[in-house]
Amino acid sequence: MMDKAKLLQELLEKEKSGTLKAKDRLAIPAQDIPEQDAEARRRNVSEVALGYTEEQARIEALRCLQCRNTPCVEGCPVRIRIREFIGAVAAGDYRQALAIIKENSLLPAVCGRVCPQEVQCQEKCTVGRSLKDVSQAVSIGRLERFVADWAGSHNGSPQDAHRESGIPAVAPPTGMKVAIIGSGPGGIVAAADTRRAGHEVTVFEAFHKPGGVMVYGIPEFRLPKAIVRQEIETLRKMGVKIVTNFIVGRTRTIEQLMKEDGFEAVYIGVGAGLPSFMNIEGESLVGVYSANEYLTRANLMKAYQFGAGADTPIARSKKVAVVGGGNVAMDSARTAVRLGAEKVYLIYRRTEKEMPARVEEVHHAQQEGVEFHLLQNPKRIIGDANGSVTAIECLRYELGEPDASGRRRPVAIPGSEFQIEVDTVIIAIGNLSNPLIRQTTPGLEFNKWGNIVVDENCRTSMAGVFAGGDIVLGAATVILAMGQGRIAAAAMNEYLARKQGSRSE
């Protein structure tokens, strides 16, 4: 393998002399991200992907063709100016790169790690298209992560690179109070953006730790919690008040917050938060978990340290079946591996191609020894006299006609039942919306799936109440939640400015 520093040197010289042509760029090898060894990481919860070195990042950035039409930006839900930030990385100006990303995205260290780039920006990338392989596209996500991590280690905090303190500037106080309900990615962005406009902002979080799914769902080995903590710390330093153990709807209702406590605008970002079960026989047996419960015990409550500093127990499983094919399923399966399971089976009723999980996570799961059982789906769960799981009975499926989503519909093959011996079953087939806000907020409009209805500015049916993220979109993604948090904040700032204006008249 050619020395990276030397390769970079050569490429930079060629670029400088104007001889680095598109075909030369296309010939640069795509840079793999260094990873922890698959065997070693089965036994720890440290991050799997280790991040690019500076040389790797710049070489990868030089693969970018600097397309005039920037198709990648079309694929990005928040329209990051990708070409420009990658150009800055190639030039070694990471500060500038960060500033460009930050124009559109507040949490690059998170998004660089968890966005499904292969169906967003990277899917559209000309390099991947030319090489007829989306895995050969410019690794935009890894570059984003590199820039954010670089800032994290050079600035104390990956915040606005223009300011030495790393803390975004806050406008003079407006004297108006904003309540943000839920501290997931949407809530964090909405809080930052409304605070920047000078409002007095309070984030209410039901759990004892802020961060939403980023702390209780997505595992440490994929998203180190230190990153989320740092983002929350930045909010605090900006003067945002964060109140944990506060369940809106129970501790106080939205109506009380607005009528009695003086909050003039509210953002609802409470996430999906209601686990779907399959409604099959045996789902209440001991050893059957929702992915939410399994991951919360493992991540938030640190059950992997049970008896060594953590008091929350989790099943000590030998054979685990995980049902589902999304990120949540992969995270559950890989967590089970790390908790010491000997066999982890992932049962999914379609094929690998239809899996909604990020490709990288699918590969990581396979490398870590998770066995995929595709075109299969559970029919019932079987238990012993103590009510503990002993096996899961599945049916085989085949793919039929495409359904409304364009994916081919899986059809059960009659009489194909078979059993797999397991002691734990984790149901990871998705989340519905938690009904608490609906039950306690008369006047707020929901659709038939229990999601809050909003307009294009994230305004709900109630004046002064805005919403975004999974409670609006259904279980979606971090970047879409962030995007809505930003849109909502802009609408809230405008709403409050108008309110203030009409008051001073």
Partner: protein
């Protein structure tokens, strides 16, 4: 049995009978456990908690001194008890279950029910809140399993007698250990007396997010923390619930043993 009055003004203000809280003693590594709100002092902004030392967290809680802080308390959780004027109501409490039952009995009395309370405990030392039940009950029957105090009987015995009366009670409320609630429901079912039970399952978040607290009610899965904690006792699958409650017995015992051993070693 331990008792504490805890400053939690927002919870004290919002809480209604039948609701509970979830607490953890510190933020890193500590377990989250549900405890019912046994009482409230609105003027002081405090709530009353009563618990039994059964594992590491309840033991740690028992060691706190007046003035100490509990890092996290969230609530009030669960649906409040449906209180109405039923007529004659029989309230059956077992052991620690007397604590959550008291505010319910009090509220039932306040709206004009005739309240017959039956309190049971394993022995005299484990009987709690007798005096306070005396204040809110029209009739109070106390029994202990071993006869060390009052009548020697399980609560199902006086419950059956009360149900045999003419007219029979219009409604029953039963809170206590799960097997006790199961057997009480068998009695009231025989006499066709509608019965509310308050379930105390294992919980994690308490907001409906995890499903760990689910029980089978009338064949369907229900979440105790949001759909409950009270359910129609005649429809609850108690046998399955008891099995689920035991899911972590071994590990909980291990945590508690480690904790006690550790304290012995450092001479506490």
């Amino acid at each position: 049995m331990f008792w504490a009055e805890v400053e939690a003004p927002l919870i004290a203000q919002a809480r209604r009978p039948g609701q509970f809280i979830i607490l953890s003693i510190d933020s890193d590594g500590s377990e989250r456990i549900p405890l019912t709100i046994a009482g409230v002092h609105s003027e002081r902004g405090t709530i009353e908690l009563i618990w039994q030392r059964v594992g590491k967290t309840t033991a740690e809680l028992a060691r706190l001194q007046a003035g100490d802080a509990i890092a996290n308390i969230a609530g009030p959780l669960g649906e409040p008890t449906h209180i109405e004027r039923f007529g004659t109501v029989v309230c059956v409490g077992g052991g620690i279950g007397n604590a959550p039952l008291l505010p319910i009995a009090t509220a039932l009395k306040q709206v004009g029910n005739r309240v017959v309370s039956i309190l049971g405990a394993r022995d005299k030392s484990r009987l709690i809140l007798e005096d306070r039940f005396a204040e809110v009950s029209d009739e109070l029957i106390v029994c202990t399993d071993d006869g060390s105090y009052a009548r020697k009987a399980l609560v199902t015995e006086p419950l059956q007698e009360v149900c045999q009366r003419d007219p029979k009670p219009n409604q029953a409320f039963v809170i206590g250990p799960t097997p006790m609630m199961k057997f009480c429901c068998q009695v009231t079912r025989r006499f066709d007396v509608p019965t509310q039970v308050s379930l105390n399952t294992i919980m994690v978040d308490g907001t409906g997010m995890c499903g760990g607290c689910r029980v089978e009610v009338d064949g369907a899965a229900k979440f105790v923390c949001v759909d409950g904690p009270e359910f129609d006792g005649h429809k609850v699958n108690f046998d399955l619930m008891i099995k689920r409650l035991n899911a972590y017995k071994k590990q909980e015992q291990q945590a508690y043993d480690q904790y006690r051993q550790h304290r012995c070693q450092i001479g506490l």
